[in-house]
């Protein structure tokens, strides 16, 4: 502050001009701060919300309908047809002749294991290379009696056959090994009926789709897992005159379809059909895949070779996730809620807050450590001492029940334990002694009743006991979600205003009546929110499930079998999925499912809690 000449000497206050400059400066600073913080805040919030949008953008192409556009005069020339082994250059021909079968259609698979001969009237004969001299292994009719077979082709991979007949019917046939291990051609399913006789069928390269042309000019694209066409049009709408197209042929990467007339290109259809294997039906319903005996829910994403058909059913993964969450909550909810009731209703202040902060500390246990302990320490121990665990679950509650029943017979001095944390020490002692007794009794019972090992006995009874099973997950993940449920329940109980309970005491109610008639009903929404939060944690839990289950995508709720969850699938498969492939996008869909479910559960729980808090505040 340099003194100014115009200023009266002696005063160090700023003059008017300085004051004005300074207040302008302050105003600018204020606005600058406002802008900066608003910008940061809004952009962060926008980013967090954009996560969902980005995930959605990655998934949407999966469900984009197929589109196709006709380009009558395409610049390039059609690719050569796939060269499949022909019948003439092999001793199959001899066998065919020997079988007395003059065929109109001949199909041989790439490995030349099987040949299928068919006549126009639909009669077909299956020849196996391993048993050529025996003639036809299987005779069957590929069409209904009065209609003619007009087209037949292998799908990519040559495990299944598509036939079309003069009535416009399309059928799929699989080569499946029967009970005796013999390959047989069996009818699997019809596709939706076409308007007229089938003229040509073309299989896609490398995946199980095909295109069909009928005599009236109807053109359809199918995917083998779905019975209705995924794209359909008439020649007329495609503005192409009917010039006697007799053959269809896909481009090598399936993005175009040539319409041919005796090797002469009549037109070219540009098709945008990136992910035909994904639809709500294949994701959530049973699908009959090639070389499977019946329709199943299957998740089998990886494949060693190019022609592998990815099987993406989300059912086994969802069931696995729910199974793990269910058993975890079964363990965690009673323990956490009881512990919260104990802390709020029965403990005095210094012990109470110490206890609650201790249990909150448990939430910080990294799940990767819990998963490791569950897999390496708990799973083998449980396998060995399964019976002891069952005995423990009977013994300890029985002992505590008895203790509660006979408590008032104990000397007065002991009964005073009631109101302090000393009870916890007594209970811990009971738990430890109980564990020791259960271990001893367990091995004794095992040698007495189950030939020394319950595990072997279960095997003999036909129960499949896997070492890393849902029981292990239930215990380990129960431990992981317990703190969340405890904290929320504790908050709900602790919020209950004092005058409610004090009033009840004044009216002569005892502890049990207060807990049951007042505290539990009032805090019930809080418990509900706690369970919901626990569920969302259990569903989002990754490392424990990844480490302590076999990661086997099976669809059941068996306690002794493993499972595979949505989260573990993401962790295992995403690093290996090719960018923008169907597999990659399905995994993003899995992420969205997880996101939406946990977000919704959390929001719901939050709203319930807020409402409860408002209601209780109104009481005060």
């Amino acid at each position: 502050m340099t003194p100014n000449a115009e200023k009266p000497t002696g005063s160090h206050l700023p003059n008017a001009q300085q004051r004005q400059r300074r207040s302008r400066h302050r105003r600018w600073l204020d606005r600058g701060w406002h802008a900066l913080i608003t910008l940061a805040g809004v952009s962060v919030i926008a980013t967090l919300l954009a996560i969902f949008v980005y995930l959605l953008l990655e998934v949407l192409p999966l469900f984009k309908p197929v589109s196709a556009q006709l380009q009558p005069h395409a610049a390039s020339t059609p690719p050569p047809a796939l060269i499949l082994p022909s019948i003439a250059d092999d001793d199959f021909a001899m066998a065919a002749a020997k079988a007395g079968f003059t065929a109109d259609f001949q199909l041989i698979d790439g490995l030349k294991r099987v040949i299928i001969l068919a006549k126009r009237d639909g009669e077909a004969c299956v020849l196996l290379r391993a048993a050529l001299s025996q003639g036809c292994q299987q005779r069957l009719s590929l069409t209904d009696r009065t209609v003619q077979l007009t087209a037949a082709t292998w799908l990519a991979g040559q495990q299944s056959l598509i036939t079309g007949d003069s009535s416009g019917q399309l059928k799929q046939w699989y080569l499946i090994a029967d009970a005796a291990g013999q390959l047989r051609l069996s009818w699997v399913k019809p596709f939706s009926q076409q308007a007229a006789s089938i003229v040509a069928i073309a299989a896609e390269r490398g995946r199980r789709g095909f295109a069909v042309l009928d005599a009236k000019g109807g053109l359809s694209v199918f995917y083998s897992a779905l019975s209705s066409p995924i794209w359909q049009a008439q020649y007329a709408t495609l503005s192409l005159a009917q010039k006697g197209v007799t053959e269809l042929r896909f481009t090598p990467n399936n993005d175009g379809l040539w319409l041919l007339n005796a090797q002469q290109a009549e037109g070219f259809l540009a098709i945008n059909n990136r992910h035909p294997e994904i639809s709500w039906r294949t994701l959530w319903q049973k699908v009959w895949y090639e070389s499977w005996q019946q329709p199943e829910y299957v998740w089998q994403s990886g494949g060693g070779y190019e022609l592998y058909q990815g099987k993406y059913s989300l059912v086994p993964l969802t069931v696995g996730t729910l199974k793990a969450a269910f058993y975890a909550l079964l363990v965690a909810v009673p323990l956490a809620v009881l512990a919260a009731i104990f802390s709020v209703c029965f403990l005095q202040e210094p012990v109470r807050s110490r206890l609650s902060s201790m249990i909150e500390l448990m939430a910080l246990f990294p799940t990767v450590i819990i998963g490791f302990l569950a897999a390496i320490w708990l799973a083998p121990a449980l396998e060995q001492h399964l019976l002891s665990l069952l005995l423990y679950l009977l013994l300890v509650p029985a002992a505590v029940w008895a203790l509660a029943y006979y408590w008032h017979y104990l000397p007065r001095r002991w009964q005073r334990l009631n109101s302090s944390g000393a009870m916890l020490i007594l209970m811990s002692a009971i738990l430890l002694v109980g564990a020791w007794v259960a271990l001893g009794l367990g091995s004794w019972f095992e040698s007495l009743l189950f030939d020394d090992s319950l595990r072997f006995w279960l095997d003999q009874q036909g129960v499949d006991y896997q070492q890393r099973n849902a029981l292990v997950i239930g215990l380990a993940m129960g431990f992981a979600v317990l703190p969340v449920i405890y904290t929320v329940s504790y908050d709900a109980l602790a919020q209950i205003p004092q005058q409610l309970t004090a009033g009840a005491y004044a009216l002569g109610a005892d502890q049990w009546q207060i807990v049951r008639r007042i505290m539990l009903p009032v805090a019930m929404p809080g418990f509900l929110a706690a369970v919901m939060l626990g569920l969302s944690r259990a569903i989002g839990e990754t490392m424990i499930i990844l480490m302590a289950t076999g990661n086997n995508p099976i669809t059941n709720f068996n306690l002794f079998e493993g499972l595979r969850s949505l989260t573990a699938t993401l962790t295992i498969e995403l690093p290996e999925a090719a960018v923008d492939s169907s597999h990659y996008r399905v995994l993003f869909l899995v992420a969205i499912l997880l996101f939406v479910f946990t977000f919704a559960a959390n929001t719901l729980a939050d709203l319930v809690r807020q409402r409860l808090r408002r209601n209780l505040q109104r009481l005060e």
Partner: protein
Amino acid sequence: MSANRQPGRRLYFFSALATALTLLTFFLLCLLILSRGLRLFWPAEVVQFQYPISGQMQQVFGEVVSRQQVNAEQLAAAGLPSHSQAQRVLIKQGQTAGQTAFRWYWQHLSRDWQTPAQLSLLRHFSQGEFYGVVMQENATELQLRLSDNSSRTFLRSDIERVISPNQLSLWGKLQLFAAQWWQFLSTEPRQANSAGGILPAIMGTVLSVLLMALLVAPIGIMAGIYLHEYAKDGRLVRLVRLSVHNLAGVPSVVFGVFALGFFVYVLGGSIDQLFYAEQLPQATFGTPGLLWVSLTLALLTLPVVIVATEEGLARIPQSLRLGGYALGATKAEVLRKLILPVAIPAMITGVVLAMSRAAGEVAPLIFVGVVKYAPVLPLRSEWPFVQLDQQIMSLGLQIYDVGLQSSNADAAEPRVYAIALVLLLLIGSLNLLAMRLRRYYRAKTRSQGA
């Protein structure tokens, strides 16, 4: 005693039981990790005994790892004469001619157990461990007699350490224990993570978490201030606040999926095309690396910091603000000069909590740059000192990988307990710090409010 008091007492006892079970499990788990983790570097007794191998009594040197009771049925399955019960012993016998490093022996078949003082354990840099008796040693070489009486000569420079645990006093054992821990914490892993130290994993975890804190602290705190001080309290803001809070509950693996798709492929790919075009198709940032790890962690913990900031601001008494305004301060001045100095500890608590959460995170990081083995530290001697595009190791992934995917499970398992102990101590100390800060802050705001 009246009957109607009975259910109340039952509730009391069972809730006490549930609480005790919860706490007991927690303590036992901590104890398990502590005991197993510390045991790894405690010099164990080296034993020697005779055992019939293909008809002949042979000498075995090694350490007892564990003992197991085996029942008659399992004995029969192993093709042994049926005793009612037998005990088998897992011996860590190191590298021997034609046998595995860990082997089960039947207790009742072995004879002549001894713990000779001169029996030593030799740890070789590249070939593993050897048990034997030191025959000769000089400045450059050391000769060891192995259990099959053959002798082997090692170069001094290849030997990590020679220990004779049976000769050591308690003080000597303690010294050795400390030295081995230090070695574990300060060296690089060897032999596919089954030997050596975990320095790269510690550094990877610490670096990525520090970088995350640098990213998340300013942004998260500013967003928190915005939500609490600047945003108008309308329906939209309440909705936004609710969703930001609940993002903390979204599974971390979902953030990992987003990070892989958006950060690595989209953002990293664009950075490569703009700035590193000459190196393409060799990706620089378009591939998992340290930067993306830290960004993912920052995204993951952003809601934690925002929530903590908001809570801290909500605790500050309104009178402080009003007093500032009454003296003619602008909003920015009230914030900077009055509110922030009081609320800073709460914000730091949030950041520390976020760091402790990030340190234990594994699943999302597998996608974006944490790998099993990357021994080179992501550090440089010149600006910016950190190699942002390098892949790193982390303690969490080490636990997963060494624990479950290691080919040498017997050797790897004790190491995992030690790694888990280190991780737990790291997270525990961060939390202790956060708790201290919170207590300090609460005391401070209470005195201000009074």
